[in-house]
């Protein structure tokens, strides 16, 4: 039967007669307007990100910073558990040049200060040593960003690492009824056309 004639036949035939020409569907799968709902995973749940923005030394410093600024606590994940540095590596690769420069210079600066004062990179400092380099984060916050680029970087990284952690799959998974809050959720607007 040619395709056009087949389509005409389908249109003309009562539904019951068409069904009768085919094997009955399995009883457990009744025909329904409701399609099955499948579970899907986000990439972070199934794979490791490929680093593409920070150098090895910059990334090591960022991970160290993440562990200090947003440590795991009270059974919840910290920045490292939430792969926040890995996520920021992706985000910074997509970001405007001034943001990229802030991070690169900031992390290089931390390493330079650490080497100058303690003869080792920031990632290898003891907690007390690292604290000394994080003094700008203990200053009263003002709307005028610090003139010092290192201070500007630290304030930015503090918030970015925190947000990347709180907004992670891992943070959400650690939520408990009556206990730790889940990450933020909201009404997402799809592209409207």
């Amino acid at each position: 039967m040619k395709r056009r004639r087949f389509l005409q036949a389908v249109a003309a035939a009562p539904a019951a007669s068409l069904i009768a020409q085919h094997p009955a569907p399995p009883a457990a799968q009744p025909l329904s307007a409701e399609l099955p709902k499948l579970d899907f995973a986000v990439p972070d749940a199934a794979a490791e990100p490929i680093h593409r923005f920070f150098t090895t030394s910059q990334f090591a410093a960022l991970r160290k910073l993440g562990g200090i600024l947003m440590p795991a606590a009270n059974g919840g994940p910290g920045a490292l558990d939430a792969n926040a540095p890995e996520f920021l590596d992706f985000l910074l690769a997509e970001s405007p040049a001034d943001r990229q420069q802030l991070y690169r210079a900031g992390l290089d600066g931390l390493n330079a200060q650490a080497t100058h004062r303690f003869a080792k990179p920031f990632a290898e400092l003891a907690m007390a040593q690292a604290d000394e380099l994080l003094a700008p984060l203990r200053a009263r916050w003002t709307y005028q960003p610090p003139a010092d680029p290192a201070g500007r970087f630290l304030l930015t990284a503090k918030l970015d690492l925190r947000t990347a952690t709180l907004n992670s799959l891992e943070w959400n998974a650690s939520a408990r009824p009556g206990g730790r809050r889940g990450g933020p959720a909201g009404l997402y607007w799809r592209p409207i056309d």
Partner: protein, 523 residues
């Protein structure tokens, strides 16, 4: 092909376009409404998602909407794409043009703050000598506010403030929390007025043209809405000099179309309406079209403080929470040294300060945030911006949008009047917080760039003199008598009040006049 002669062509479906349709169709007038955007389906077009499911984990796609500070990764798709509909400005004088192109316009997403203007605005020049008076007084618009407020179901508390006239409110006599009582007492001691926020309750989830105006207009059978219709220009009958309709392009197909009508009412939002008139080359014998752009400057979180008594989880509703509005109180009976006009303050208690305000990190930061969860105080300053001739928009012929329509160039900046006003707002708020014994974490007077408030006004202002204004007191073009511009572009001054109630009332008033003129055969 259907080519109907409509009585009135309405461009835009937001507050002003929606109210124009609502008013005219109920009087039996056949209207065609064109909107540049698609219809929105709140069930189909949005879904609840955790931030981790978003591609950029809630940070948003870098550089996607550089001028829309309100944009988040959740709502990025509700705003106009700046690449599709670009505009230009001097890099040293940024302007945040925040736009929505959906049926219902910005009323789909507005903050619902619902205020009346007073004669401190309508007759501002009489009061302090600056600028111009409106060609109407408060008494002219009051009957229309009286009709608009019940439609939008405005809640508020009657106070008798001359600078913020009362409306037909759903009375809000909800009790104040202890922290709020403390703050209100501090305002009273200083002679600073305070009231409940005045807000449109709407119906169901919205207080929008989409659910409050357009359904009634459609039910009359007198309204046809065509979405995705990007108006390119208004057309003019050369013999009469009157507008004859509009050329528009279908957003999806790119097909060019023409719609005819006896009268055109433009309510495409302040700057889009002016852009349309400029691109059409009409209604500008005064040379004023595009000028006197103003808005309200906003300083969010002007002061961020902690209420010490609420630390450690003492955040029961009786203790803290809720908010209020301090209406303009400067330059009413006294005269300030550094500025004219005034500002309003939208304040609230019960929030949690953002981590950026707390000079700690690691576990210490987490503990401090938990300790002050729900114990915060913050306030937003909303200041009047003076309408100045030099703050203007014009067509930038070198840049065109996705449909080849020339873009707008926006040139505006704030001046010492606004900056001095902002400093006064900060010191006032700090004084009030200190008087309450609250811990001020941060205070600042850094306003967002012009446009941020999404209250762009002026550029097509009304007036009695055709040489200094574009519209007469009925929102009707001085030059083209069958052309009305019914949105916020008609404002002469804006005060510190959210303008939506005034836009709705003006468009209803203009529509009443328009209908009467049609009935008499004058249009």
């Amino acid at each position: 092909m259907t080519n109907i002669d409509y009585d009135v062509l309405i461009i835009g479906s937001g507050a002003s376009g929606g109210m124009t349709a609502y008013t005219l169709t109920r009087k039996g007038i056949k209207c065609l409404m064109l909107d540049a955007g698609p219809p929105v389906d709140f069930t189909r077009d949005r879904e609840l998602k955790p931030a981790y499911e978003l591609p950029f984990r809630g940070f948003g796609k870098p550089g996607q909407l550089p001028h829309v500070f309100q944009a988040t990764e959740f709502n990025a798709n509700q705003w106009v794409d700046e690449k599709q509909v670009p505009y230009t400005h001097d890099p040293a004088q940024p302007y945040n043009w925040v736009r929505v192109r959906l049926v219902g316009g910005k009323t789909l997403f507005w903050s619902r703050m619902s205020f009346r203007l007073s004669d401190y605005e309508f007759k501002a020049k009489d009061h302090d000598g600056f600028g111009d008076n409106w060609p109407i007084a408060y008494a002219d618009l009051a009957p229309y506010y009286d009709q608009v407020e019940p439609i939008f179901r405005v809640a508020g508390r009657r106070e008798g403030f001359p600078q913020l006239p009362d409306g037909l409110f759903i009375e809000d006599n909800s009790p104040e929390s202890k922290a709020n009582q403390q703050f209100i007492a501090a305002t009273k001691e200083r002679g600073i007025p305070n009231t409940k926020m005045r807000r449109s309750m709407g119906r169901g989830p919205l207080a929008s043209s989409l659910n409050l105006l357009l359904p009634d207009a459609l039910a009359t059978g007198n309204l046809t809405i065509v979405p995705n219709a990007v108006v390119r220009e208004l057309t003019v009958d050369r013999a009469s000099g009157l507008v004859s309709g509009a050329n528009f392009v279908d957003r999806h197909s790119g097909r060019e179309m023409h719609a005819k009508a006896r009268v055109v009412a433009v309510g495409a939002s302040c700057l889009e309406s002016t852009r349309l008139l400029l691109n059409s080359g009409i209604a500008n014998s005064s040379g004023v079209l595009g000028h006197y752009l103003h808005d309200q400057f906003y300083i969010t979180q002007t002061v961020q403080a902690i209420v010490p008594e609420a630390r450690g989880g003492n955040t029961a509703r009786a203790l803290i929470g809720g908010g209020g509005l301090i209406p303009r109180f400067r330059n009413l009976k006294t005269k300030e040294k550094g500025f004219i006009r005034g500002y309003a303050l939208d304040w609230s208690t019960g929030g949690t300060p953002d981590a950026k305000y707390i000079p700690l990190y690691g576990e210490a930061l987490d503990k401090e945030i938990e300790n002050c969860r729900g114990a915060g105080f913050s306030a937003t300053t909303m200041g009047e911006v003076l309408p100045r001739f030099e703050n203007h928009v014009r067509i930038d012929k070198t840049v065109k949008d996705a449909w080849g329509i020339p873009a707008l160039h926006i040139q505006t900046c704030y001046t010492s009047n606004e900056f001095n006003m902002a400093k006064d707002a900060v010191s006032t708020l700090e004084e009030l917080c200190h008087a309450c014994g609250w811990e001020v974490l941060a205070a600042h007077d850094r306003m967002f760039p012009p446009g941020y408030s999404i209250h762009e006004l002026g550029t097509c202002r009304m007036g009695d003199n055709p040489k200094t204004s574009v519209l007469n007191k009925w929102n009707q073009s001085h030059d083209v008598k069958n052309l009305f511009v019914v949105d916020g572009s008609s404002f002469v001054t804006g005060g510190s009040q959210n303008p939506t109630m005034t836009i709705l009332s003006l468009s209803m008033r203009a529509s009443d006049y328009l209908a009467e003129q049609m009935r008499r055969g004058d249009l």
